[in-house]
């Protein structure tokens, strides 16, 4: 009897295991956000950008962050070190050397990519992130508990956290100037860019524009629109004259970042069937072993 119940136990554990693995491969992730055909995006052409950092200033100015004087941004020494978007700047420009072909540097503006299948939206424990119809991904300060799972999840390592605030620390990231675009205005960075390195438009149009530029200048561009397919597509997309890995973009596949984890999640919880079955199974085992023991005792 003792050997039997141990086997039962192992069997049921194995069953759960088999269930988990089986479901991961079969279950499909439910679509989390309805993607509008007309969602907007920005095409960043790094071959046009001159690294003037006016966009950094405009972004801070539009988001009530200490921005300082626009003239101070002419100091190019800042570009000597690589920076990341943080709590004091939602977008930053980094500079890379061009290598053999040219002495001109390559400047790359970085910010949240506003993914089509955002890992942050999927991960957030309270659902504080929203993917809006116009493509924007925003964060709701009233919901956030500060767990920082969004930061661990984001494939581009974008969300930043106010570590030195004891009360109400915020998660900060580019919000695609949601309040401005609602009023029909351009995102602040797009508006200020003096050389039109940033093109704001319908994402589907932007892809056409980008393809066209690559076709007309095949020597100038690498044949890759970063963000067209990466992690299922992003609202912000990039063109470059150099392999994106050399511009410090993470190497990412085509599958949406939350795909696997959501299928697992939905597998374990498919209409609560697996947990309830497990409950019933354990209840059954409990009842049978109890019965068996009572019978044993009667025999004695």
């Amino acid at each position: 009897m003792s050997g039997k119940s141990r086997r039962d136990f192992l069997k049921s554990t194995a069953l759960i295991g088999a269930g988990v693995t089986g479901l991961t491969t079969t279950a499909k992730a439910g679509p989390q956000n309805i993607l509008s055909e007309d969602r907007m995006g920005v095409l960043v052409d790094t071959t046009v950008c001159v690294g003037c950092r006016n966009c950094e200033w405009a972004c801070k100015d539009a988001h009530n962050l200490p921005a300082g004087n626009l003239e101070d941004y002419e100091d190019r020494k800042v570009l000597d070190t690589k920076r990341r978007p943080g709590t004091d700047a939602l977008t930053v420009v980094n500079e890379y050397s061009h290598g053999k072909n040219s002495s001109l540097p390559i400047d790359v503006k970085v910010q949240c990519m506003h993914c089509d299948h955002p890992a942050c939206v999927s991960a957030c424990i309270v659902g504080a992130f929203t993917k809006h119809e116009n493509g924007t991904v925003t964060w709701d300060t009233d919901m956030c508990i500060g767990c920082r799972y969004c930061m661990a999840a984001c494939p581009f390592q974008v969300p930043a956290f106010e570590y030195d605030k004891a009360l109400n620390p915020m998660i900060m990231k580019c919000d695609f100037c949601f309040d401005r675009t609602k009023e029909g205005k351009l995102p602040a960075c797009v508006e200020i860019c003096p050389v039109e390195a940033l093109t704001y438009g319908k994402r589907s149009d932007l892809i056409k524009i980008a393809r066209d530029r690559i076709k007309r200048n095949p020597d100038k561009y690498v044949d890759h629109i970063l963000g067209e397919t990466e992690v299922g597509g992003t609202s912000w997309m990039y063109l470059a004259s150099k392999d994106f890995a050399e511009l410090e973009f993470p190497k990412l596949g085509k599958n949406p970042a939350p795909g696997v984890s959501e299928s697992i999640q939905h597998g374990i919880f498919a209409y609560f069937v697996p947990p309830i079955s497990l409950y019933a199974l354990l209840g059954g085992i409990m009842w049978i072993t109890k019965r068996r023991k009572e019978l044993d005792e009667e025999v004695k």
Partner: protein, 413 residues
């Protein structure tokens, strides 16, 4: 199945010893840094940053804490669901560890989240896609279940012994009555909670593994796999009994009791197959995803992975197969401690070592403050355990009197 009769009783032993004083100092040191965290923010105490949002507190206090408290549900499954009465002596100590363990997991979460005063948000703001949401909800419910499962120990301690201070003495009777009603109600419904506890544990132990899946390529391929939830569940199941043995042997040493060797050896004999299953999946995963190629590069990841697998799984697996190990307290202790160490390291590896953010300039190592808080929590846990076993009927001692079946096999008889 005739063996000595065991009854859980409060252990008679003095609370303070030099070791206990040492633990108190460690605990106070932790609390000091904890205050720093609440007054000046997480950044003031930890080495966390925008590249490394999660560190020691999530890896050890939360992830390892949950795994090492798995003894609660594995022994409940064995003792109550399989009705293996011979294990009842260890169900209560395991339950107590689980209860304290999960309490500290909850406290770990509380200090780690930036807005601790919003810790209740997941109760009303749901995101079913989030593995963390699942873990959070399950842990909250399971913690409640653990407290309910522990209640009979409290009622048992006080029934017939209610002795309130003089001016409240009039309430002695009603309180006693209330405890009796509570006790009867609990013993009728306990099986519901026991099964729920096992289900909830299986769910969140595995979801804890799902957590890092979404980090995708940010996590080292030696650990990143879609079967992480299964590996987490299997490792939690296999660390349950070793953890029970580990602390039972420490407790009996510290409280000068005779180790419960017959029960512990029998428990130990079940560990090898469980570890074997875990090892098989771990190796199988490695072979299928061909990640063994990463083992030849000599770096932190490969070294940590090897230590985890060799000392945490393979060596103890071999030890548990030997009858001599099962019968010798010191060897049994070593083997169990190795498994505990292995799972602890596995959780640290998964959440800290394997996590390799794309733009980090230097890798994360926990600050003195972070370590102090974690070690301080462990010290408080041990102190609380000691206090409870000295004052409540948790640990069983051999006795001549008939067993109080009503209490030892509550709810399922």
């Amino acid at each position: 199945m005739s063996h000595e009769v065991h009854n859980p009783v409060p252990i008679k032993h003095k609370y303070f010893t030099p070791g206990v004083i040492g633990l108190i100092i460690i605990a106070v040191n932790g609390l000091v840094f904890l205050m720093g965290r609440f007054f000046f923010g997480i950044g003031a105490v930890t080495n966390l940053n925008n590249q490394y949002p999660w560190g020691l507190w999530i890896g050890v206090d939360v992830a390892a804490g949950v795994a090492l408290a798995a003894g609660g549900f594995t022994t409940a499954a064995l003792g109550h669901i399989m009705h293996r009465d011979e294990y009842h002596a260890i169900v209560r100590p395991a339950l107590l560890t689980a209860m304290l363990g999960y309490t500290f997991v909850a406290m770990g979460v509380f200090v780690d989240i930036g807005r601790w005063y919003f810790i209740w948000h997941p109760l009303v703001m749901w995101n079913g896609n989030s593995a963390l949401f699942e873990v959070g909800i399950c842990v909250m419910i399971y913690l409640t279940v653990l407290y309910i499962e522990f209640l009979p120990v409290v009622t048992e301690r006080f029934i017939g012994k209610v002795n309130l201070p003089k001016f409240l003495a009039g309430f002695n009777k009603p309180v006693d009555k209330f405890l009796r009603v509570l006790d009867r109600g609990l013993s009728k419904t306990m099986f519901i909670f026991i099964i729920a506890g096992v289900v909830l544990s299986s769910l969140h132990q595995s979801s804890l593994g799902t957590l890092m899946v979404i980090a995708g390529p940010k996590m080292h391929p030696l650990w990143q796999t879609p079967i992480l939830p299964l590996l987490f569940l299997l490792s939690a199941v296999s660390v349950g009994f070793p953890m029970v043995i580990f602390e039972s042997l420490i407790a009996s040493r510290s409280l000068k009791l005779k180790p419960e060797m017959p029960v512990l050896s029998r428990l130990g004999s079940m560990i090898a197959p469980l570890l074997g299953i875990y090892l098989a999946f771990k190796i199988g995963d490695m072979v299928i995803r061909k990640t063994f190629v990463y083992l030849v590069d000599f770096n932190t990841a490969s070294v940590m992975f090897t230590i985890e697998l060799l000392f945490g799984v393979i060596i103890p697996l071999r030890m548990f197969l030997s009858p001599k190990v099962l019968k010798t307290p010191s060897l049994l202790f070593t083997a169990s401690a190795l498994v505990v160490f292995g799972v602890l390291l596995n959780r640290i590896n998964n959440f800290v070592v394997a996590y390799n953010p794309p733009y980090s300039t230097e890798s994360y190592f926990p600050s003195f403050g972070e370590i102090s808080v974690t070690v301080g929590f462990v010290a408080i846990l041990v102190l609380a355990y000691r206090f409870i076993v000295l004052n409540f009927p948790v640990i069983s001692l051999p006795s001549k009197t008939a067993p109080q079946t009503k209490y030892t096999i509550r709810g399922v008889k």
